[in-house]
């Protein structure tokens, strides 16, 4: 087990280094070092400290958050093809952004980030309230209510987008997620929330293990079902809300990372959660690097990259496990 953690941490360091050095311009490690620890105001130093550094901080945070959120949602829903979007969080965030930019005229990045977080939170509260109000947080009910809210959110977004074609392309970029041009302040707000969410998830790890079995087994093991499900909802909302606020709805990380993590360390959540956080961080960071080169010199939306790479990784995992 320590070997897995060590290897993943090492890979994460490598990913972070490549995120700092590779891009529209290539920088040496010495230049990166100088810009970070002996800032001299030169153009190179400014680019590294103001443009590269925020991305190298935000990408792993978002990836880790979505990876852990995916693990929790798949356990909560007892469904291996569930992801944070199954609970309507991404749809809520997208709707928040679209409403803010079209009807409230908000154009600033911070305003849109806030709108995304609020939208995700609203969707999560709605799903939880309807599920709890209907009297049961059973996996099937959570999933069905979640996809319904998600469908509703997506369709409202589409209505606005198809009636305002002029702004379509610009918003499409946001709606597929990106790490480019994010201020450091965003990471400073997001980081504590992500850390809090992962801590809460780790706290719930043992109960989540029991939740994988059926409800009566879990109750028999002394797990307070409502409390654990409520806590899981809070954790998923914190993680996904902070992630979409920082980068927009980056798809597929929350779906594929849990599969990779389970393949590495099995089903125990006290191992799954940290490993999913590490894998998610590596994955998002590398996707961010790839996004700089795919349609060079333009930036590709990172959500597109995560989906292509994630799709291929998922195919490979599926193939391997067959053998």
């Amino acid at each position: 087990m320590p070997v897995v953690y060590a290897a993943l941490t090492l890979a994460l360091c490598g990913a972070l280094l490549s995120s700092m050095t590779l891009g529209y311009r290539l920088y040496g490690l010495d230049q990166v070092w100088a810009a970070l620890f002996a800032f001299d105001g030169s153009e190179t130093a400014v680019v590294i400290a103001n443009l590269r550094l925020p991305r190298a901080v935000i990408a792993p945070l978002v990836g880790a958050g979505l990876g852990v959120a995916g693990v929790i949602v798949q356990t909560l829903a007892r469904n291996r093809i569930a992801s944070p979007d199954t609970l309507g969080l991404n749809a809520g965030a997208s709707l928040g952004v679209v409403v803010a930019s079209f009807w409230l005229g908000i154009g600033s990045l911070v305003g849109l980030s806030l709108a995304a977080a609020l939208g995700a939170l609203a969707a999560s509260l709605l799903v939880f309230a309807i599920a709890a109000g209907a009297g049961g947080l059973s996996p099937l009910r959570i999933v069905l209510i979640g996809v319904t809210i998600a469908g509703l959110g997506h369709s409202l977004v589409e209505v606005v987008l198809t009636t305002n074609e002029a702004q379509l392309q610009q918003l499409l970029f946001w709606l597929s997620g990106a790490f480019v041009d994010r201020p450091m302040a965003l990471a400073q707000t997001g980081a504590p929330i992500i850390v809090l969410g992962i801590a809460l998830a780790l706290l719930l790890a043992r109960q989540l293990d029991a939740l994988q079995a059926d409800d009566s087994t879990a109750t028999g093991l002394g797990v307070p079902l409502v409390l654990v499900r409520g806590g899981s909802f809070v954790a998923v909302s914190l993680l996904t809300g902070a992630a979409v606020a920082m980068a927009g709805p980056v798809g597929f990380v929350g779906l594929v990372v849990p599969h990779a993590a389970r393949w590495l360390v099995g089903l125990r959540h006290d191992r799954l959660i940290p490993v999913a956080a590490l894998i998610g961080a590596i994955y998002a960071t590398l996707a961010d690097v790839a996004a700089r080169f795919v349609i060079y010199p333009t930036e590709a939306p990172v959500g597109a990259i995560t989906a292509v790479v994630g799709g291929i990784v998922l195919l490979a995992l599926l193939k391997r496990r067959a053998a």
Binding site: G135, G151, S155, T162, L172, L315
Partner: protein, 344 residues
């Protein structure tokens, strides 16, 4: 599958189906009657039977009936595909969207728009070939899913995951192509992705109907064998049903239905996810009732969605697919909340 209670009453299912059929007919008729000009129902009937003045004939026969007809076929086809997939995989999140068919078709459309445009962004061929591109894309995607999954195709969750992976790759390629393409292509592609039932002609409806009828008949034959598929592998083999082969057949039927539905209409995926769940809540778990109910509900959702976009957003043509969720979702939530009271 715990959670939702069994709601089958022996009398209830036929009653619910009858009411659904009634709602379906009424909605289809008002789909023809409503629009920028109101045409009374008796006049609609008259025009269909050959009477009426020329303006009314054009409006009814050329503009409105085709929309309603394709919405019925596509909505119903999508819903039946979703029903089959949810039954055979026993996964409530299964829908035509996760087999990669819709995203494959979308990629086909986007490539078609990008590859066949000249420097001034005008298409060098007729837009009428767009459905062909969609069909090719759908076929390539579903073949990829089956080829890649190989012998694992018989495992439900495996095949779903393979489908999701292929869908994800196709979807992101679509996204990238849309972002680097010129505005015209982007909005044309976005319309397709949302799913619209305007601009169809009778020839296209004929193609869809001719191809869909035999598939639906096959589905009806196959669905008589569906209940045992709810069993696990061992019991199913015990009663002499070769499950893996049967499962692949069902997957193929669902894929064919999806490809047909999206070719002319576009990505109306939500119908396929929601309609089967709605049908189960309304008419219970009986397979045949569920199948018919899904078809009717899918058709109702899409016809109703098209009606809403015509009445609410006119004269702007908003794709009907965008509002299917707005019709289905609130009602579905209402049903979900009500159900708990019975078993709670």
């Amino acid at each position: 599958m715990s959670g939702l209670p069994e709601t089958v009453g022996t009398i209830r299912a036929p009653l619910a189906l009858g009411l659904l059929a009634l709602a379906f007919v009424l909605l289809a008729l008002s789909g023809v009657a409503f629009g920028s000009t109101w045409i009374a129902l008796d006049q609609v009937a008259g025009v269909i039977l050959g009477a009426g003045d020329r303006t009314q004939q054009i409006i009814v026969l050329q503009l409105r009936l085709p929309r309603v007809a394709i919405a019925i076929l596509a909505g119903g086809g999508m819903a039946v595909a979703g029903f089959l997939l949810q039954k055979i995989t026993r996964n409530s999140l299964a829908s035509p969207g996760v087999l990669g068919v819709i995203d494959g078709a979308a990629l086909g459309v986007v490539i078609f728009l990008a590859a066949l445009s000249n420097e001034s962004n005008a298409l060098v061929t007729s837009i009428a070939y767009q459905p062909v591109a969609a069909a090719i894309g759908a076929l390539v995607a579903i073949s990829l899913v089956f080829i890649l999954s190989g012998r694992q195709a018989s495992s439900a969750i495996r095949l779903l995951l393979f489908g999701i992976a292929v869908a994800a790759v196709a979807k992101s390629l679509t996204m990238i192509l849309m972002l680097i393409g010129p505005i015209y292509q982007t909005s044309q592609a976005a319309r397709w992705l949302a799913g619209a039932v305007n601009e169809v002609n009778w020839g296209e409806i004929q193609i869809t109907a001719i191809a869909m009828v035999p598939i639906m008949l096959l589905v009806l034959v196959a669905c008589r064998k569906l209940p045992p598929a709810d069993l696990d592998e061992v019991s199913a083999r015990g009663i002499g049903l070769d499950l893996p082969v049967f499962r692949i057949l069902i997957f193929a039927l669902a894929a064919a239905l999806t490809a047909l539905s999206v070719a002319f209409v576009g990505g109306v995926g939500f119908v396929g996810l929601m309609a089967p769940h709605l049908a189960r809540l309304l008419v219970g778990r009986n397979i045949f009732a569920g199948l018919v109910g899904s078809f009717l509900l899918g058709a109702i959702m899409l016809v109703g969605a098209d009606l809403i976009v015509r009445v609410l957003f006119a004269p702007v043509e908003v794709p009907a697919g965008t509002v299917t969720a707005i019709i289905g979702a609130p009602y579905f939530l209402f049903l979900l909340m009500g159900k708990q009271r019975h078993d709670g």
